[in-house]
Structure formats: structure tokens, C-alpha cells
């Protein structure tokens, strides 16, 4: 495996974006980063800057308001990148599914690589999702 690819798998910097969730999944994402779950031991850093991010972690359903911001963030994130949709909302629209302002899952706006189920998703699942995303990143790299 190339040195850079190997480094990439050990250093996933995440960009966390809330598309309009109830905040439940966002709290769980932050919980995954706190000392109890300590996602930083896997190199995960919540960087918040799309230009430096490798993994875009999205919560909440896609809607016309947030779609613009989401698309912009996706475009600002340089390749290689992966998208993780956290929670039922981000996957399908969840409890907001039939609201008139909701498109559905975030995959209606940007391509999604990994779906983490749950309402709210558990921190362990989110970390699992991140690891799966890294495997996809490796595949994208041809590794």
C-alpha cells in the first residue's frame, strides 16, 4: 500500500454538518469524540474546515434550505473524500420523511458512501460507520 494511502486511513479528519436534524445525532457524534469513546485514538479530528476534511459526517434530512450549504461544503472538500450519513433522518428523512419541505435523505443532494442507522445513532455505531467509510476511502484509492 502506498505510504500516503496508509496515512490517509489513519488520519480521518471529519467535517460535521447538521442539515436540520433534531440535534440528537449531533450530540452522539460529539459523544463519540469525548474521552469515553475517544475517536481521536483512531486519528479522528473534528476539523470543521471543508478544505481540510476527509470525511463529511451529515445528520438530518435534506431540505431546500440546507441543500445549498451541503452541496457547497461537498464541493469545497478536496478529493479523496467520503460521506457518512448519520441517523435515520440523514438516510431517508426519518421522522421528517413526509414533511413538505423535506426531500428525504441527504443522498438526494450529495453522494453518500456510508449510512449509519439509528434514531439517534449510537456513538459506537458512528465510530463503526467511520471505519467503514475508511475502507471505502481505501477502495477509492485503488488499495
Amino acid at each position: 500500500m502506498r505510504l500516503v494511502t496508509r496515512a490517509r486511513l489513519k488520519s480521518p479528519w471529519i467535517l460535521h454538518f447538521d442539515c436540520g436534524s433534531c440535534n440528537g445525532c449531533d450530540i452522539e457524534i460529539l459523544a463519540a469524540l469525548t474521552p469515553k469513546f475517544d475517536a481521536e485514538r483512531l486519528g479522528v479530528v473534528n476539523i470543521g474546515d471543508p478544505k481540510q476534511a476527509d470525511v463529511i459526517v451529515v445528520t438530518g434530512p435534506a431540505n431546500p434550505r440546507s441543500a445549498r450549504a451541503l452541496r457547497s461544503l461537498y464541493e469545497q472538500t478536496p478529493d479523496p473524500k467520503v460521506v457518512v450519513a448519520v441517523g435515520a433522518c440523514a438516510a431517508t428523512g426519518g421522522v421528517f420523511r413526509n414533511c413538505e419541505n423535506v426531500f428525504g435523505g441527504v443522498d438526494k443532494v450529495i453522494p453518500v458512501d456510508v449510512y449509519v442507522p439509528g434514531c439517534a445513532a449510537r456513538p459506537e455505531q458512528i465510530i463503526d460507520g467511520l471505519l467503514l467509510a475508511l475502507r471505502k476511502l481505501k477502495e477509492k484509492d485503488g488499495g
Binding site: 496515512a7 490517509r8 489513519k10 485514538r41 486519528g43 476539523i47 470543521g48 474546515d49 476527509d54 469545497q76
Partner: protein, 289 residues
């Protein structure tokens, strides 16, 4: 004929970035342990930089790449000057040049966060530069030389004579490593927006270059701290690492101060410590002015 010392200096120069990266890794590990976390592997900073190097960059201003190289280059030059026994003042000025590069990088991008970060970086410079010059001056008062080679061969260890200057070097290290309470322009932790202002517009290889430059600058300040026990380089580096540990402790114990307070605190502490130190030297006859 190349002397042994030159070979040693050249090897140390090549090793400087690696040592810096390793120190950053150890810093992250110790910080994690202090917060009862496991923390990332010690080699994490190297993974981060390698990854950044391989990522497609987003260049937001035309000056960005050249100035990122400038930051790394001048940081390297300042360490080289130190290792090859140059002049303490020219080391301080070369390090300042690197700082000018990073300020210009942040101010050249059209982003309010980055711009403010650059402005705050200027205040960091304003805090560290006078302290570094004063430390160098107090070393001069004792050893009668600014040349590192002469300072290193001074018969006595400097720490008992210049404890004030040593603490001032610690304050410089605190600001230089962007640690709380003085992490106003950027932070080594996963903060966002204005707290990492200087880094906001950097990405890919420009970010990697700046990161390595930062490692080298940390090594520079630590090497300056190690001069305070020049007769025995191991004791010197022990002292420098103890200083590093104190900085990490401070980072985890103190909240962030505003940049105004940073300038005031560092100036007040720095000037007072150096003045008291020099006064003590004159009274005890350790030096003549």
C-alpha cells in the same frame, strides 16, 4: 576536512523535523492521558502530514504556496543557524521572517477568519519577539557573546545565573506552540474557525508545509532552552523537555486568554523577570554592565 561537529550539526538538522513531529505526537498522547483518554498513536502527526501532502489542495490565494514554503524554509534556516553556531539575534530575526510568511499567508486570503487569525498572529509575534531578544541580551550580559558557539563553550551552566530568562523562554514556547492560555491565533487542537484562524485557508500540501514548519519552530525554542545547561547537552535537553511538559500542563489547566491579555501578560512577566534577573546578576557580581 569536514569536522566531527559539522557532521553532527548536519545530522541534527535533518533530524529536527522528525524530532519535532515525534514531540508533537508525545504531546498529543500526554494531553490525552491528562484528559483520561487513550489518545492517538505517537506517530499520528506524521500520518496527518503525509495525508495532507497527498490530498488535492485548494489554493485560495496566489501567494499561498510560495509563502508556505517560505515559512518552512525560514524555520529551517533558523534551526540551521543555531546548530552551526550562528548568532542568537540572527536566529531570532530569521524565526521572525518565517512568522511574517505565515501572517502574510493568512492575510492574503479573502476570509474573515483567516484575516483575523493573521492579525492575531501578529500580536503573538509582538509578544514573543521582545522576549526572545531580551533573553538573548541577558545571555549576552553573562557570556559577553551572542554567538551560539561561544555561549555553548561558556564554562558555567547558565540556568543558575539566568533563571528568569529560562522562564521567559518557557513563555515563548507556550505562545509558539499555540497552547492555552495563549492559543489565540491558532490552536493545536481540533478547534474551529477563529481559534484556528491562521490555518483556515490552508489545505493539502500548504497545510502540511506549515505543520512541519511549526514542528521545527518548536524544536528551535526547545533547543534555545537547552542552551541554558550548555556544558552537558543531556541535562540541557532534560530541562527543555521539562519545560515542554510544563507547557502541556498549562495547556490543559488554563482557559484561553484574549489577545490583549496575552500581550499584556507576556510583556509584564517577560520584562519583570528579565529585569529582576539582570539586577540580581549585577548585585551578586555575576555580571558587569
Amino acid at each position: 576536512m569536514v569536522s566531527m561537529e559539522t557532521v553532527f550539526s548536519a545530522v541534527a538538522l535533518v533530524a529536527a523535523p522528525f524530532a519535532g513531529g515525534l514531540l508533537m505526537g508525545v504531546d498529543r498522547k500526554i494531553t490525552a492521558r491528562m484528559q483520561s483518554r487513550m489518545g492517538p498513536p505517537v506517530l499520528q502527526p506524521f500520518y496527518d502530514v503525509l495525508k495532507l501532502w497527498g490530498k488535492s489542495p485548494v489554493i485560495t490565494s496566489r501567494l499561498q504556496p510560495i509563502l508556505a514554503f517560505g515559512y518552512l524554509g525560514f524555520s529551517f534556516l533558523s534551526v540551521a543557524l543555531l546548530l552551526f553556531g550562528g548568532d542568537l539575534l540572527s536566529i531570532v530575526f530569521t524565526a521572525a521572517l518565517a512568522e511574517v510568511c505565515i501572517v502574510t499567508v493568512s492575510m492574503s486570503a479573502k476570509s474573515p477568519y483567516s484575516y483575523l487569525g493573521g492579525r492575531r498572529e501578529l500580536f503573538c509575534m509582538l509578544s514573543t519577539e521582545p522576549l526572545m531578544i531580551l533573553s538573548a541580551l541577558s545571555i549576552y550580559i553573562v557570556t559577553r557573546s551572542f554567538i551560539v558557539e561561544n555561549v555553548l563553550t561558556f564554562e558555567e551552566p547558565l540556568l543558575p545565573l539566568l533563571p528568569g530568562a529560562f522562564i521567559v523562554t518557557g513563555i515563548v514556547l507556550l505562545i509558539e506552540m499555540r497552547k492555552s492560555p495563549f492559543d489565540v491565533s491558532a490552536s493545536s487542537h481540533a478547534h474551529q474557525e477563529i481559534v484556528r484562524g491562521v490555518y483556515t485557508e490552508l489545505s493539502g500540501y500548504t497545510m502540511a508545509l506549515v505543520e512541519v514548519g511549526h514542528w521545527i519552530r518548536t524544536v528551535l525554542v526547545l533547543s534555545i532552552a537547552s542552551i541554558f545547561w550548555a556544558p552537558n547537552i543531556l541535562v540541557g535537553w532534560g530541562l527543555a523537555l521539562a519545560l515542554l511538559f510544563m507547557v502541556i500542563l498549562a495547556d490543559n489547566a488554563f482557559p484561553r486568554l484574549s489577545w490583549q491579555r496575552m500581550v499584556k501578560t507576556s510583556w509584564a512577566l517577560g520584562f519583570a523577570l528579565i529585569a529582576a534577573n539582570v539586577l540580581l546578576l549585577v548585585v551578586t557580581g555575576g555580571a558587569t554592565i
